[in-house]
Amino acid sequence: MFRSPKSGALTVAFLCFASPALVAGPLGIGETATPEMIAGWDIDIRPDGRGLPPGEGSVADGEGLYEAKCASCHGLFGEGAGRWPILAGGEGTLDTAHPEKTVGSYWPYASTLWDYIHRAMPYPAPQSLTDDEVYAITAYVLYLNDIVEDDFVLNQETFQEVKMPNEPNFYIDDRPDVVNTRCMSQCADASTFEIVTTINGVTPTAHFKEDSGVAANHYGNEAATAEATKVALSDAAVAGKSIYAKACNVCHGAGVAGAPVTGDAAAWSERIAQGMATLNKHAIEGYVGKNGVMPAKGGNMALADEEVANAVAFMVESSQ
């Protein structure tokens, strides 16, 4: 039929119909986002305060809220429990051998703190705080960092007075900063080489080395912990369980760095035979053993001696 002269015209008409000109501009896909929809999701706060809702909260109100909702992970003074993030301290450390980046020592803007606590904290229950609670807790964390006084009340207006000390110390990425050249021969002097190797026992290598006890696919020894909950624990051990989870499980859960795995009776029998006094002393003061280094209090000096002893009780009772 395409051979007939008459249908030629028809074909052209058909093509025009089938291929409309490409639309310039919007394709008209999607619906209008209404102000109500946007208001529910538009939670971001900017350094100039844009986005801060009405409301307020004082340092005093923040203290109780922080202790109830935040301190279990971040510590009563923002010092961080176990491996949970530190929120306060560290001033003057950024150019030292051990820089400590915290809200007070590092963060350039207070708006970030309000925004982040509101969107992501408390960690297990994000976006559960009211605006007034966020104001109060933000004020309290600023207070823990000596950025506001204890009678400070945070709201849209007072926000503008808050200045973060480290703000001037950020600058825009200036890479590329290093310039290497594509030298092909005699590019370095091998006689000056110092070869630095890795420390044993930190890498999880159980999947390719038979002699490694460190596994790479789980957090802590869940089987052992499950087993541990079956035995009747003493009061001390019950009290020590959460300390253990925060400060000791990181090494003793999976056997990191040579630590005896909690729940592994064989690894613990000789240790337990030394008696609780020795174990407690080793755990509180730290020591260097045959398998590695046990840091004092697991590296968490904020723990009271008794808390460490309770954690030891939990470990021992779970490993018999």
Binding site: I29, D48, Y106, Y123, F170, D173, D177, V179, F208, Y219
Partner: protein, 438 residues
Amino acid sequence: MTKLFEPSLPKLMEALATEAQGLKGMDRRNFLKGGIAAVAGLASVQIIPKANAQPNLPPNIPEWQTYLGRGVVAKPYGEPSEFEDLQRRTVPWLTADAQSSISMTPLQDLEGIITPSGLVFERYHGGIPNVNPEQHRLIIHGLVERPIVLSMDDLRRFPSVSEIRFIECPANGGMEWRGAQMEAVQFTHGMLSCCEWTGVKLSTLLAEVGVKPEGQWILAEGADAAGMSRSIPMEKALDDALVVWGQNGEALRPEQGYPVRLLLPGWEGNTSVKWLRRLEIGDQPWHHREETSKYTDLMPDGRARRFTWVQECNSVITSPCPEKPLRHRGFLEIQGLAWSGKGKIKAVDVSFDGGVNWQRAELKGLVLDKALTRFSLQTQWNGEPWLLQSRAIDETGYVQPTLKQLRDLRGGWSIYHKNSIHTWNVTEKGEVYNVQIT
């Protein structure tokens, strides 16, 4: 010859070898013949149970050839052979829990340049949300003419593209800043993956809403518990940014942001916000937690770089590596991966002596913009120790730096963007160790 009747084959061979030591020339040849005959004879009597441990090897007929195998759709969604040990792995002591944590891609086990979806490295700040795509929306608003809300259905109506791009966490290798630490390539370099991504150009979506002239920045926000948020400059958004729903030919995996994520090719992985729910156009950046407290680079003078978005040119040898030591002398193909956030890989060089002398490697297969690129060098290994390195050069002419060059400028505390030349120490035995040359 009574020794020969011990049932263990290795012991038997050892005994043969010991006795053969004492003999010479013809004697020795004759002895060996006799010995082997003895072994063969023995095999029919005593060693057979042992030999049966390998009943599938020639000349035997493999067991799996003697009956019918599994039929179609026995596994409607396939999985790797049970004989493979393909796993993302983590370093448990790195983080306090598994929700704000990281796992690495087993680079040592991969072929070509594509990372299978199930092995793409993971990084979450609040776990993986279980997003129902029918109830998921992307809102685009702010300094625009027409704020819109898009369902997944709407998104798929836009003209789409498919592109192969790497994603790398800027903290890849970060554990190695202050010294060699991880004894495995999976942990030194595995926060790195490369997939084919399918979606719509962000510029298409921006044309749809009509950005006002003051609109210079975009806040991208996720629907996860962390409410992940990053400020993106308009220039990148209009350049090569994508909003993707497809990964390696199927829907995104939950781990990678199902049902939809941002993809900023060549930029630090964190900016490619997953579970994307909102794009707000504004006139200045937001300076949120992931671009102030985190993902900023502390320098030795105590000041810090911000908006360090680009993943500069990098490379690593993945075979051999600690997980894949050398087991054979003679011919060897060295292989590895190179990548650059600024474009294509132009060349890769390999050094056997810790960077004194270099040889040009070959680029294998596809060489794509901001994608993993595989390189190879065919050589011989005869038990000599090596300090094995690779050095990549990208199309901008940037040459991957040495660790010393990086440290001299940046110190040891910047956590992110450690893209220096990596060294494997290959020992006489063929074992491979992670070392640093200072």
